[in-house]
Each structure stands twice: as structure tokens, then as C-alpha cells.
Subunit: 263 residues, 2 copies
């Protein structure tokens, strides 16, 4: 490649996250890097996009990086990054390193980290979402020093492969999850169907009015071959994702079901 | 079926939408109906879930329906509806009828209407997302009287099929879109890859500070067989969706790509 590749970095933990800095350290050696991320933590927002509110952007200097703080979602940051900051499609968009894993079909639709990567892919860019498993109690400790060695190493490898050969055909996003105590092993995985059993906690506020917290308990029995299984067994999981979630079924059969000929 | 089926209705336009009432009118004839929806409009929030804020719920009477107003997202409404209001898995969750279409791979990840249906499917319920194409200028006119005849008819048909035979194997959600000027024709479709080309509008506020609006211009050339193509040709589109967006590729080939053996 003659010209320097352009790489956009974003996340859903906000500009101050140590994980963003870790990505920056890896990627600045591979190309020209643009950091555009939400000003504050935006977890669980999926691929939310701000269509009802306008967006402001501030150029700031954080953790030794020149960055753009977007007062919107990770998806907003990708859109602003591509169309306003860079002004053209980058060669690669990296979302993360997120503090806390993003696994299973649930992560794909609820994670801001993955949401940003899906938006990047829709825009036509190669895209990586990368997350680090952290203890539950640490999930919102964004500035706690952590060992990013394994995450940085796999990020470098996948980014280099993409910048050299492009994304493999049929893959829109790589969703990478690195265990907190990693072995050297990498496994290509499919999404686990489910990660949590939903639990709701009912509480009373100081004035005696009910309110609820949504919570979840992890499912114990991960199937082999899934991202959940790989991660819980200390292996780094790489899941290739497609934007196309049309069901893979026989449409003639579907038509017969609809017409009531089957059941 | 001996016992009356339990049906949860939600949406992303909020409790006051005429589309919600239209769903209610159809579904109350098919089972015991529970209406649990965001108190105000929550468009573009995808499958956002409130994990950082607690949720409040109010029992209200709106448009002749006893309903539960949730001060959260459509996904929050589904979770609260299933676990707190109904207390068990319903036989069917219907999200909509939304004012404005939800088509293409973009809708699946950014639409609150589809997001709620994906959450319902994850919880283990049969799920329908249904949307009505409206003129662009009407998208936020939630109370304008509209002709729901075609939408109600297809909703009744699909809901009846599901309650009688269950979802077809491999289908997690039906995403239904009804044209504003419908013919009688129904087409089973796949998701169009893209609907919009992103456009950003830069403006100055009264104090001279820049801000941005994210906007999009529709792509003109829809491929045959897609939801976009069906809808723009006046046909009702039914797209079967899967929760599993793992890319459909050969993992051995992927491993070779990773190892650098291919390019």
C-alpha cells in the first residue's frame, strides 16, 4: 500500500478509557489514526443513532491523543468520524478495546462497541469490534490499569491482515473477545444464542415508589464452538459477523407455512 | 389451544400511537392482550437496554386500552412486560404497528420496533415487528388518522398462523412492512443491504457554535427480492429474521486468511 492507511478508532466507553488508548498504541503504528468517540460512556445502546437530537463535536487532547469528543452514541461517532472528520471512507474502523466482553447474539444488537462496528461496515469500511473480559465488579472501572498485552497482539494481527488483504468475503465485522487471563490460543467461533437469563430487581425509592433494575444471570452451559465457550475456557474468540440477518431458510417452505399447508 | 393465548404488544412510537391501537384491535380477538410500551416516542434506539438507569412503570388508560407506560426503551418494555407484567413467556410479542417502514439491514440494528421483537425472540417468544410506510413528512405525525386496513389484515394472518402452528423453524422474528398504498400482494423478502446514503448537515446555533444533524438520502436502485424492492413496488414485505448473525462462511478458509495463506 503506497499511501498510509486511514484508521478510525471509536468505542462505547468514552474518550477517557484505557482501552481506547491501548487500541491507539497498536494502530498508530499501522496507519494514520483518527480517534472519534463518545464524550461519556454509552454502554448498552447498540447501534442507536441520533436522529431526534443534533450532535456537537469538540476537538480535545486526552491521554496523549488528539481526539474528537462526540456528544452522541458510538454509531454517531462513526458517522461523524467518516463524513466530517476524515471526509472519506477509512481503510479500517476499530471499536474498542471495550472494558467487558461482548459475546452472544445479544451483544450484537445491544452492545455499543459492536453497534459502532456494524455502522462502519454499513458505511463500507472494514470493521473490528474488540473487547476484553473483565471481572463483573470492574466493568465500570474504565481507568483501572489492565493488562492489554493479549488484546493488543490479536488486534495488531487482525488489523494487519485486513490492511494487507481486505476483509474475507462474506465477513462484514470481526467481533473479537479476549479473556482476562488469556492463553495464546485463538478460536474462530459462532455467536452463542444467549448469554443471560433476565432478572429484574424491584426496589422502592425514598418516597416509597417502585422502580426496577434490569439485570441478568449468566447461562452456565455454553455450547462448544461458540464465543461464550471459547472465552470461558481462556481462549481468544474471533467471530465473523454478517450484516444480513435474513433467516437462512427455504422460502418455498415459508410460503407453505404461511398458506397453512404445514404445521 | 385450550387456554387463551397471551399476547404482548409494544412499539417504539409510545403508548399514544394510533398504530399501537390498530395492533390492539386485531390481537384482542386472538387472545389475552397486554400493552406495555414506552411512555414517549423512542425511535432509532435499536435494541438499547437500560442497564445504567432504573425503570419506572405506570398503569394508565389510553385510547380505550389498559396499558403500562415504561420510561425506557422498547426493549425495556418487552423485558418488563414479560417478567413483571405477564410474569411468564407470552405466546406472541407484537411490536408496532410502527409509523414508518423498517427495512434493510440498517433497520434490524437501529429500529426500536425491530429491536423490541429481537428482544422478545431472545426471551424465547414468537415475535412480529410490523411497520407501515408513511410519507416522510408524516413520520412523526403519530396521531394522524391512517388507513391500517392492509396492515391489520396481514398482522391477523401472521399472528393466527403463529398461534396455530408456532414460528417456522429457523425464523426468530417476522419483520413485516406494509406499503402506504398497498396492493393485495405479499412477498417474502430478504433484507436489502442498505437503505440510505448518509448525509450530514452542519448548522450554527444562535451563538455561532457548530452542530450537526445526521440525515440520509434513500438509495434508488433496490435489488429484486429485497424488502426495499417489494415495498417500493406496493407489495407487503415479510422478511424472516434470525438472531444469529454469524457470517455464513467456511471457517477453514477463514483460518487460512488469518494465517496469511490467502489474499
Amino acid at each position: 500500500m503506497n499511501r498510509k492507511p486511514k484508521i478510525l478508532i471509536t468505542n462505547d466507553d468514552g474518550l477517557y478509557s484505557a482501552g481506547l488508548k491501548a487500541s491507539y498504541e497498536v494502530l498508530k503504528e499501522l496507519g494514520e489514526v483518527f480517534v472519534v468517540a463518545p464524550a461519556v460512556q454509552k454502554s448498552g445502546v447498540g447501534r442507536s443513532i441520533s436522529i431526534m437530537e443534533p450532535i456537537r463535536v469538540s476537538k480535545v487532547h486526552v491521554n496523549g491523543m488528539t481526539s474528537y469528543a462526540v456528544d452522541g452514541t458510538p454509531t454517531d461517532a462513526v458517522i461523524i468520524g467518516i463524513h466530517e472528520i476524515i471526509g472519506e471512507l477509512p481503510d479500517l474502523v476499530v471499536s474498542g478495546i471495550n472494558m467487558g466482553e461482548n459475546i452472544s447474539t445479544e451483544a450484537v444488537t445491544t452492545s455499543g462497541t459492536v453497534g459502532a462496528a456494524l455502522e462502519a461496515a454499513t458505511q463500507g469500511s472494514a470493521a473490528i469490534a474488540i473487547s476484553l473480559e473483565v471481572p463483573d465488579t470492574d466493568k465500570f472501572e474504565l481507568f483501572k490499569p489492565r493488562d492489554f498485552t493479549a488484546a493488543k497482539s490479536v488486534l495488531r494481527k487482525v488489523a494487519e491482515r485486513i490492511l494487507s488483504d481486505g476483509m474475507p468475503e462474506g465477513v462484514d465485522v470481526f467481533n473479537i473477545n479476549v479473556p482476562s487471563q488469556p492463553s495464546a490460543e485463538i478460536e474462530f467461533t459462532r455467536l452463542a444464542r444467549r448469554l443471560y437469563v433476565t432478572r429484574i430487581e424491584e426496589r422502592l425509592d425514598p418516597r416509597g415508589r417502585k422502580y426496577y433494575w434490569i439485570d441478568g444471570i449468566e447461562i452456565e452451559d455454553a455450547e462448544e464452538g461458540t464465543d461464550l465457550h471459547a472465552l470461558r475456557n481462556g481462549r481468544t474468540s474471533i467471530t465473523p459477523l454478517t450484516l444480513d440477518s435474513t433467516a437462512r431458510i427455504d422460502f418455498n417452505k415459508l410460503r407453505r407455512w404461511f398458506d397453512g399447508g404445514e404445521g
